[in-house]
Symmetry: C2
Subunit: 253 residues, 2 copies
């Protein structure tokens, strides 16, 4: 099924990638408004309409940029999780503890990456992309897949934590019926074998993590706090009991 790439196709892919990277550089160096077709083309020694050979519109180009950012943050979080230690190297009794450490490391890395990459973070998690409703109908939307991959990083970790050291989750019949139905659909979508209650807990954790980081990064906490890191740690403390810990998610030094 998969065709070997011809030389021309490889050149094309390389150029496509270069366009995306140029767009990202402009985003970081000069802000979101600077990411114009003309600016990108200028930066690459081309003219703006030439970019239409690679992307059908400005918006599509941006969606590829978003996808690129998504995979980067996913990689960062994955790496941070992995750096905590490997499961094989640990005593089987310590494995559960290790998973907890990985969880904390993943969350903290997510925040750290966000704070170091504010424009990128705003791009992928900021206000709804123009034409978001339509976006869900697009077939080859790269953001969907990359967003999915990103979610899998956290969900995979969460699932493993649950398997290694099961914590209290609501039984199926304790879950709001409407929510239960949606969770079932979601479980199927992400090919998970976790109980619905675990998925509910997972989503609650994600809301907590996203809300805290997003609020801090967007600057909408500045009215009260200059440095929101203590609030982030408090959030982690809130998250701990959700996954069956008495202690806040510990630091891994």
């Amino acid at each position: 099924m998969v065709q070997a790439l011809s030389r021309r196709d490889r050149v094309r892919a390389a150029t496509t990638q270069e366009i995306i990277q140029t767009a990202r550089r402009l985003l970081v160096e000069q802000g979101p408004e600077a990411v114009s077709l003309r600016a990108i083309a200028r930066e690459m020694g081309m003219t703006a309409p030439a970019l239409y050979r690679y992307f059908s519109s400005h918006e599509e180009l941006l969606r590829f940029v978003v996808a690129d950012i998504f995979t980067e943050v996913a990689d960062h979080v994955r790496t941070a999780i992995h750096a905590v230690g490997s499961i094989e190297a640990a005593d089987s009794a310590d494995v559960a503890d290790l998973m907890v450490l990985k969880m904390a490391a993943g969350c903290r890395e997510f925040r750290a990456w966000a704070l170091e990459h504010v424009p990128e973070f705003s791009m992928i998690f900021g206000s709804p992309m123009p034409g978001l409703e339509v976006l869900h109908e697009i077939q080859n939307d790269p953001t969907l897949d990359c967003g999915y991959q990103f979610g899998q990083v956290f969900l995979g970790l969460f699932g493993e934590l649950y398997r290694r050291r099961p914590f209290a989750i609501p039984a199926d019949d304790e879950i709001d019926p409407s929510l239960r139905e949606q969770l079932a659909k979601y479980r199927q979508l992400v090919h998970s074998d976790l109980p619905l209650g675990a998925l509910q807990t997972f989503l609650r954790c994600w809301v907590l993590l996203y809300g805290t980081v997003s609020l801090e990064v967007s600057g909408h906490l500045k009215f009260a706090l200059d440095d929101a890191s203590p609030m982030f740690e408090l959030m982690l403390a809130d998250m701990a009991p959700m996954v069956g810990l008495d202690q806040p998610l510990p630091r891994h030094n």
Copy 2:
């Protein structure tokens, strides 16, 4: 000190208001990109440069729009809180319960307003406005005051709840020193007499509420849920113990 407005000044204020309302209408009907000076002017039967008689730039106009939206959502929440019942009419024993109902009503109204006014919500709580850092140094920035007023609605309610039925809060020396310092500054800024621990709890509640609503409105929960209302209710259930309740924040019918 306050001068009576001359007739001309009243006309001017009315026109200013009409510009803002036109901008809001365009925002709602045609999305954020449609709020251009030319479009506003066209809509009002004027030309774009005429708007410069009222606002010094496009961005300043937008900041006034944001301020307008802020006061509207604040009014909505305030009204919803008030509609639950007046304190005078209640038995003194029921007053505390009443405050809890008001709290729940305020949070739910905030979400309801956000869902009914997605473009406006994205405008005031979305990704950081271009040049946000500078924004804090502007003197007559209307968004600062209106954002403050908005915060006071929730903080006032929270404070009254705490006074009527004090709940467990961390003592000053249990608070992270860095956070304690910032909370002290914040308390002074908002002229509150609440203990620092209460302010910390308040901010945690706000992070929870904002994060949940923002995630839902921006559509970044769609990957899992079509209807996020059950998650919102779960969030309210999480919030309840923070303010000393065993039961989730009850509904007021």
